[in-house]
Symmetry: C2
Subunit: 368 residues, 2 copies
Amino acid sequence: MFSSSAANRANRALIYSHTGSPSSVLRALTYPALPPPAPGTLNVRLRLAPINPADLNVIEGVYPSRPAPTAFPGQGEVLVGGNEGYAEVQALGAGLDGRGLSVGDWVLVTRQQAGTWRTAANVGADEVIRLERKGLSEVNAATLTVNPATAYLMLTSFVDLKPGDWIIQNGANSAVGQAVIHIARARGVKTLNFVRNRNNLDDTKRELTALGATQVLTYDALEDKRAVRAQVAEWTGGAPVRLALNCVSGPTTTALLPLLGQNAHVVTYGAMSRAPLAIPASAQIFRNLTAHGFWVSRWYLEHSVQEREALMKELVDLKIPEPVHEILTIGKEKKDKEAADSVKAAIDKMLAGESKKKVLLRLEEPDD
Amino acid sequence: MFSSSAANRANRALIYSHTGSPSSVLRALTYPALPPPAPGTLNVRLRLAPINPADLNVIEGVYPSRPAPTAFPGQGEVLVGGNEGYAEVQALGAGLDGRGLSVGDWVLVTRQQAGTWRTAANVGADEVIRLERKGLSEVNAATLTVNPATAYLMLTSFVDLKPGDWIIQNGANSAVGQAVIHIARARGVKTLNFVRNRNNLDDTKRELTALGATQVLTYDALEDKRAVRAQVAEWTGGAPVRLALNCVSGPTTTALLPLLGQNAHVVTYGAMSRAPLAIPASAQIFRNLTAHGFWVSRWYLEHSVQEREALMKELVDLKIPEPVHEILTIGKEKKDKEAADSVKAAIDKMLAGESKKKVLLRLEEPDD
């Protein structure tokens, strides 16, 4: 499957043979150029790929989905890191005439855990979706499939929201939270955003408001139950709030359930508090509250290429702002050991919580 | 609206003017025979009505639905106790020719909190549904709309169960739990039933098994997580369990969630533990567990007379066993004071938890 004569450059991937702490198991591998793609497949050049927190959980072996093993010459089967990122079509196999793909197109690999931390891969035509660029930045393209998709799908899958309707979310300053604010505003939906109290609270409120947040509150406001209900009723004009998006769980989330009206839905996509969500039976029985989970990986598994492409088209049209980020370029001159050390240093910084910036990997094709 | 000349017998109702402890606020009232029914309405003779636990919460004022006030001659507006029971059609108003109702028919008043603890009422034709008797006993007829309806609707509204599928329920020895076992068996659905450990556990297991329970376990079995999962997997042959019916909530309910498979639904209709249900985010996100509430009162409000009649037809055809019960007859010769005292004594016994038997009220028309 690999041929060193098919192109004049080599490739590089960040791989691991068994799960464990990223700094102990991750290593870089230089591998030959890909052979021409088999019928029904294409070769892609992966351009930019984020290091998402879930990617680290996958490497640690504590995430429910894992990559399929990939065979590299002389390595046997290994796992390649990375789940998200954008790629460029390099070569098309036979039989893809009707597929609407051309060399140079930007594509996303929507197969979960496809191993985006590498320079080149051969993928099935059904595993990719084509991006209409429309001025999309590389950073946007590399970060569409997880956070913006999660935000968009949670806003559209559970409640038929109309312009003027309100939703509630916690963890509103997270990447998904910010995308929720942006998308909700674009759809005329008002957002009541909860964030942690913090030193720079006024800055956070200003940033979220600039992004389109209708109101921003801290969890402290939930302590005075009557006051917060009265405040919310004043803002909403008494209209029932029917959707809450939750990435925190635990007691502060239970405390915001009384702000929801009849027939509401709370959608959990995280548990930053590391506590479960306790739901009073009365809210479920007498107010018909339904509690769902959302996992974007499941959505991709359960939806067709056409549906995935339609989603990406929506997200591109929504012109979601780039996340605050830094790009880690792994230069072509680096040896595999240096390359791996650079990535591991960035991961250690992430795990230590030292930076709020999203790190995106730009792997250069190594000097052969 | 009332006329003492329209019939030669008086009526009696159990009423209260303000909410509070049943033994302090409940009283009996003798009232005249009803006038002939206005167009579109009918007069019914209420024959047998249970005293359900929720009825006491309604009188206490701690239940989310309340009866509409009824005016009685010389009493002004008062509230009448009772939500369930069967009645017989006594007289039809004009304009009901196509409605399929005849004098002598058995009907159920499906308007919530209609005040079934009285001998006669005038009701709108849309508030009643006609029962096909088919050998139905009076006790069955009087107890169809709450517990069997709850059991049937929870089994059919959330998951499309096929014969051979398994469900889990807790509080399996409750009236709803027993109806669940009966209905599930009739549909070929297997039940894994949790009950409290108790002195007569073997008797309980034998009774539930006779009713059709596939397996009966106590909550103690949940303490050894691996063992109970292995046991359930053995029984189900590894097929995913996709529905759990919950009237207990609290920690034992959280502990049974791992027994559910992917895409399962937990439906809460009670909280006998008086604790909320804590749901781990991982179960919602990665196993797509959805948590619903169910309240049969809401179902009646949201469904048409035709749908309610179709439900009752199903329940009659299912030949659900009578609940263990005793009938409290309030004889015609009793004065109102004595009548009220008899009912209050039965309620006090219920509240003290002294009897597991459902008490059904048979109010006789008092000597005028």
